[in-house]
Assembly symmetry: C2
Homo-oligomer: 314 residues x 2
């Protein structure tokens, strides 16, 4: 199948674009009407076969879902609302076309649910692994942007949901490819915290926010280093996925929960957000400190936080 | 080297961002101030080692240049002005870091010249080939957009520059890796026709436009099929790069010139554009027809246009 035919096939599996899409799939580029009085947020993230996923225990539909979800998670961490996605596929000629269909369907289902329009993309062949590379844009009002910087010593640290589930899921899937436990689903189908991120920004409840793609320890260091603080974590307070370990939470990565810093004075703003998002757990796990060290406390003893996992090496 | 360290290294090689970049490299996503009263154009295109380039006769700096140039060419074909780029790198661990440096330098030089800000991206490791995947945004006023649709039977077809040079260059480079001929440079360092595209849109001189990534024959078919016309090309009129053949022009691809349709009644508008872009050749090569056939005429004999080359197959 040629590139043009495959593009037509993909286009037919996607819902019709919303009215703000002036030119959609099929031209040299897509043309979009920007949202009025809003800033634009742009992010890109890829999923590489053999690094981020393995078709022996992750379906093409899972890959399509996750490739979009990891980008939406970045949009959520900025407090933004997603708008459009561009899909760049790098495909070995051996990949069956029904895998491409299923990948698109998995992505399209999340796109519809998240109100993101897939407006364009590109297909290249490759002698190597499947790469699903997405760029997602979003919009956010100027005063509602969440960044990694801006937190201060004394701010409390919170996370959404439960941690370590993706690491546990990956471990169980490696020994039982058909595992359908909650943890396995966490790994295969992470749920971006879009609504929570938007509400956090809209209520100006957080001073800094990041999504947990590379583990809690990495997220804490990123916020602390960007804001010029240290942090101390209460390990007993961590909301650990049943069956997972604190190590899974700290270093496992891929949980795609939000980590954010809240001034104790603004806790009421956070309470307002929590009332609107009752189904999602929100847990205080520690606080930022003036001392530039990243510590975890267990049974009255403080240890240096582990490093997050390293995606790219050596 | 870890991902964070490599991102810092790349960031240090890029110029400081312009004032419309509110949040640049280093957060979950970049935040951009949209251009007032303009629509946004978005496109993505990738370069895959072993498919689009071969390090035996293309340098890392060439790859960086070309990965950006092919995206800018899509922006030019829409009549838009580029604004920001996101860089997604898929890298095998064996790639020397000085290759990454050179790739960034090649890209940054073109970015500076084209006034595009690299505002973010992602790095993933891979067991496979190097993939350089870019997304570029641009802005264009609503009434100045150039698309593939909207041309009519009777419109004249024009191309910028010379055709077939990239195919000739690739052929010579395969036998002489160090070739530095003009054609080899065309292949290694295509020059996106940004200024011409913007002027074509601003003067409303063209009814349809496309960039020649997949050969002239493919471009003509794309415009004709999108606009509901056929076309007849005068092969003797083609501006062929010295040493190249009509086959190189029709099927070779990667020339990244602009192909566009002009109503004979609006030829004065095109003349105005030509006066402003004197260094760039503009050649009438044929016209669109009501009959839905794509023909090339040589010595009074018409033949069916060859198909363009197929990037992706089977």
């Amino acid at each position: 199948m040629g590139e043009h035919a495959l593009i037509q096939r993909i286009r037919a599996r996607l819902p019709p674009p919303p009215s703000f899409v002036i030119v959609g799939i099929g031209d040299d580029a897509a043309v979009i009407e920007p949202e009025r009085n809003a800033l634009e947020v742009v992010t890109t993230d890829s999923q590489v076969e053999g690094v981020h996923f393995d078709f022996t225990f992750v379906s093409p539909a899972d890959v399509g879902h996750k490739a979009l979800a990891v980008n939406l998670s970045d949009i959520a961490a900025m407090g933004a609302t997603p708008r459009v996605a561009l899909l760049s596929l790098i495909l070995p000629p051996t990949l069956p076309v029904d895998h491409v269909d299923a990948l698109i369907d998995g992505m399209a289902a999340l796109a519809v649910r998240s109100k993101v329009a897939v407006v364009g993309g590109n297909i290249a062949r490759s002698p190597g692994p499947v790469v699903v590379d997405l760029t997602v844009t979003g919009s956010v009002h100027r005063r509602r942007i969440l960044t990694r910087t801006g937190a201060r010593a004394g701010d409390d640290l919170y996370v959404t949901g439960a941690l370590g589930g993706a690491a546990l899921g990956l471990r169980t899937l490696r020994s039982n490819h058909a595992d359908s436990s909650a943890a396995a689903q966490r790994y295969r189908r992470p749920e971006p915290r879009l609504r929570f991120g938007v509400l956090l920004g809209r209520n100006r409840a957080a001073r800094a926010c990041i999504d947990l793609s590379d583990g809690l320890a990495d997220g804490i260091r990123q916020i602390g280093e960007a804001s010029g603080t240290g942090a101390i974590i209460d390990e007993a307070a961590l909301p650990i996925e049943p069956g997972a370990t604190p190590e899974d939470a700290f270093r496992g990565g891929e949980d795609y929960e939000l980590l954010f810093a809240v001034s104790p004075k603004l806790r009421r703003r956070l309470d307002a957000v929590k009332r609107l998002t009752k189904d999602l757990a929100v847990t205080r796990i520690g606080r930022l400190t003036a001392e530039p060290a990243f510590l975890s406390e267990r049974g009255g003893k403080a240890e240096i936080l582990p490093e997050g996992f390293v995606h790219f090496g050596p």
